[in-house]
Amino acid sequence: MSVLPFEGFFREVGRFGRILWRVLAWTPRPPYDFRELGRQMVRVGVDSLPVVMLTAMFTGMVMALQTFNVLARFGAERYVGSLVSLSMVRELAAVLSGLVLAGRAGSAMGAELGTMRVTEQIDALEVMATDPVHYLVVPRVWATTIMMPLLVLLADGMGIWGGYLVAVVLMGANPVSHMDNTFRFMEVSDLTSGLIKAAAFGLLIAAIGCQQGLYTRGGAEGVGRATTRSVVLASIAILISDFFLTKLLF
């Protein structure tokens, strides 16, 4: 499943491009369904919030633990705060939250739209003068694109807090100098680049999940396949695009 043949890979990329194009084309057209957008934002946010926070906090804690020992070898342990915060804000919060969201929100979209496809609900939409991309995909894609940066902002905070707990409470670092170092080398661009990545990942997760859902075929088994592929493909897309975004943003 995770190793797609190349032909399949290019077909997926083509479909993804088409979906993205249709989302952009449909977005400015009325009717605007802000209620649905809100509903999807709550769903994406609430679904993923606890896991995102937990992941970020423990990542911050582990990073502090690892780097404290290593940095202590050359007496640089006071920089633990800087290391944890910069890694979280620039890179880890976005990527880890993205992977979590791919597993929760992306798979849910694949499953939901996939079920609608195999039970002919998508056909029913089309018959009733409703474009499925406009009605289903547009709100999901924007909701995820908006919620991801918010979640990542919280994840940044949780990671830094986790690092603080380990460094100060467990390892006995000086709280004032730890906090000072946490923010000392950080620039606004570190924060914004992480949030831009987050938004891009959100877009990828939702568009891939919806695309897999819409192209589902073959009953309940097909829905299962679409769900798995939503997660796998979104995760791959996050990891690959992360490299290029990092190259682009710095």
């Binding site: 609608m116 002919e120 609900q121 056909d123 029913a124 089309e126 018959v127 009733m128 003068a129 474009d131």
Partner: protein
């Protein structure tokens, strides 16, 4: 027949899924304002045929003309406008399971921007009453039986008073009384609203009640098309076999 008299004209329709050919050069006329019934064995492609009439499936070859317009020449927006003249009830209902029954039936009205909220609510009630489901409005599709879901799908298909109605096995699995209600409704839609109706059904009793024209699908083509009286006396062995089997099966029950 001239195109003005046929609302749907299918010519040389061909459709295959992979290597499996379902429709193989099929021709069919659907006269305006009349009731056409499609019969045929399970899996012969009746649902596939119906989906071509509304552009949900595109033929591999051949032409689908609706009101003289070739469907394949329409862009998405024109196709959408075209479809608003249609109502379709799917074989398994295809209800939106995130919405209540009332919201489902109101859906085409909302999307086509018909009426005020109050008028829409009234129309929804009316349509649910027509299919004998006046109390089901607040329920979710998952709380309904298969036959009830199908009837909600029927109500949703007729809600915006479309010119052309496509019903995919609307009475399958219903008790005889409700079946009669739906059959009468189909006749009434045609006679009082002048709607064109295309119905798929396995129930020969219904067929002779509602049909102006009967078309039989077999081997990817319409092998026979005739008015009910004439249809009964056709000598085509495939028709005879189908009539014999289904009527016979009906009598022994």
């Amino acid at each position: 027949m001239s195109p003005e008299n046929n609302i749907v004209e299918l010519r040389g329709l061909r459709k295959a899924f992979g290597k499996k050919v379902i429709l193989d050069g099929l021709d069919l006329d659907v006269p305006r304002g009349e009731s056409t019934v499609i019969i045929g064995g399970s899996g012969t492609g009746k649902s596939v045929l119906l989906k071509h009439m509304i552009g949900l499936l595109r033929p591999d070859a051949g032409s689908v003309k609706v009101d003289g317009v070739e469907l394949s020449t329409l862009d998405n927006r024109e196709l959408t406008r075209f479809r608003s003249r249609f109502g379709m009830a799917f074989q398994e209902g295809a209800l939106f399971d995130s919405m209540t029954v009332a919201k489902n039936v109101a859906f085409p009205l909302v999307r086509l921007g018909l009426g005020s909220e109050k008028e829409r609510a009234k129309r929804v009630e009316e349509c649910l009453a027509l299919v004998r489901l006046e109390d089901a409005g607040a329920k979710l599709p998952s709380q309904l039986s298969g036959g009830m879901r199908r009837r909600v799908g029927f109500a949703r298909a007729i809600a915006h008073r479309p010119e052309v109605l496509l019903f995919d096995e609307p009475t399958t699995g219903l008790d005889p009384v409700t079946k009669d209600v739906i059959d009468e409704l189909i006749v009434e839609l045609k006679e009082t609203l002048g709607a064109t109706v295309v119905t798929i059904t396995h129930d020969m009793e219904s067929v002779f009640k509602i049909a102006d024209w009967i078309g039989m699908l077999h081997g990817g083509v319409i092998v026979a098309r005739a008015a009910p009286g004439e249809f009964r006396s056709l000598t085509d062995p495939r028709v005879r076999e189908f009539l014999g089997r289904t009527v016979g099966a009906h009598q022994t029950h």
